[in-house]
């Protein structure tokens, strides 16, 4: 009896093992083929590069709602930014606001007519010293070597520390599944999911293909984009020739978005 029970368990164990692990063993057998070394991962040849990407927005050329709305529209449509009516659920990558909101702390009691009524385009400033990155516990928000403050949506756990840390309100949280609130999906760009934060990515996916950011392209020269570390770049020329301001400079985040006023 003792013997046959043992025998039975042995057989049972082996056959259970066989049923359960065969695919796994197969997987092991065929992996690690050793081809790994020849594979290369690299940036595309056309990719635009810079030491420190920055943007200069000429607000003299963007005077009215009609001037700025197409830029917002193009950004939101190519990036599958959902349109939610409830303001508390709203997702924004780029939007327009008044001078007194964009430049809090800088406003005079009485503003000149044009400044007061100019719509200022605001977005993530891709700060050189970004507090959002320091706040993010998972490093889902990180700063690339070229200065772009990017989000790895795969890693975001939705804790929203970054939202609390960003002094510009540049980030939005997906309270709802965004699909279904996107009129026409751009199938080339992923959507996000519920519980993830998002923001402007300086069009990293377009730069990789040799294209300028969509809002820059659509601005017909009102927005310049280039390398802030290159003294000969377009953006540096503009900064040399024009008086510019940045948002909440006193906080020391060093925004990379400049405004010609």
């Amino acid at each position: 009896m003792e013997n046959s029970r043992r025998h039975f368990l042995k057989i049972a164990g082996i056959s259970a093992l066989g049923v359960g692990t065969k695919p796994v063993l197969d997987a092991f057998a065929s992996s690690g083929g050793g081809h790994e070394k020849q594979v290369q991962l690299k940036a595309g040849e056309k990719a635009l590069k810079a030491k420190n990407w920055g943007m200069v927005i000429d607000t003299r050329k963007l005077k009215t709602k009609e001037d700025v709305e197409p830029l917002i529209e193009i950004c939101h449509s190519i990036h599958n930014v959902p349109k939610l009516e409830n303001q508390r659920h709203e997702i924004k990558w780029i939007w327009e606001t008044e001078y007194k909101h964009a430049f809090t702390g800088n406003e005079n009691k009485y503003l000149d007519e044009s400044t007061e009524h100019t719509p200022f385009l605001v977005m993530c400033n891709h700060c050189e010293n970004p507090p959002c990155c320091r706040a993010c516990p998972t490093e889902a928000t990180f700063q690339r070597e070229d200065g772009i403050v990017l989000m790895d949506f795969h890693r975001c756990i939705g804790c929203r520390f970054c939202m609390a840390a960003c002094p510009y309100g540049s980030r939005s949280f997906n309270f709802l599944d965004p699909r279904g609130f996107i009129k026409e999906q751009n199938k080339k760009f992923p959507t996000r999911m519920k519980g993830v934060v998002e923001k402007c990515n300086f069009c990293a996916e377009r730069l990789a293909e040799g294209l300028m950011p969509a809002c820059v392209e659509a601005s017909k020269g009102a927005i310049a984009f280039g390398d802030l570390d290159d003294p000969n770049s377009d953006v540096r020329k503009l900064l040399k020739e024009n008086y510019t301001i940045r948002r909440k400079q006193n906080l020391g985040t060093e925004p990379s978005v400049y405004y010609i006023v």
């Binding site: 049923v19 197969d26 065929s30 083929g33 199938k187 760009f189 992923p190 959507t191 990293a204």
Partner: protein
């Protein structure tokens, strides 16, 4: 025979044991008998014409998840988007724009295996099923 050496309700105990064993081992023999044959997946015209994926079939079969995991990191975090395979062929590292462009029949390709293996990745929550819906 002294009483204490006897097993009371021998029949019931043994029947109970058999039932117990049967229940406990149910998943094993049930699967053994029926062990659903590996699902048949269908390739698209494009995939058939290409003959080979970014890597060979065996590698893709077993390693595509590791490959994709690596891709998403290098693309997002390192800004590298070009994959040069063992034959020197270049691919855009993109689930939506490369993988699903060729394997546009998600239901007959990805889902069949994933359902079979009960692997339910959340890639599809963000990456759109098919850039171009075609069979």
């Amino acid at each position: 025979m002294p009483e204490y050496k006897r097993m009371y309700n021998k029949d019931k105990v043994i029947t109970g044991l058999i039932i117990f064993l049967a229940v406990m081992t149910f998943p094993f023999w049930y699967n053994h008998g029926k062990a659903a044959p590996a699902p048949k997946i269908e390739l698209t015209k494009e995939a058939k014409a290409a003959k080979q994926c970014v890597r060979d079939k065996d590698y893709m079969k077993t390693e595509h998840m590791q490959l994709l995991d690596e891709w998403r990191d290098v693309v997002v975090r390192e800004g590298k988007r070009m994959y040069v395979n063992t034959e020197g062929k270049e691919f855009n590292m993109s689930l939506s724009n490369s993988c699903l462009e060729c394997h546009s029949n998600k239901a007959e390709f990805c889902d069949r295996c994933h359902d079979y293996a009960s692997a339910d990745p959340y890639c599809w929550d963000c990456h759109i099923d098919n850039p171009k819906e075609k069979k």
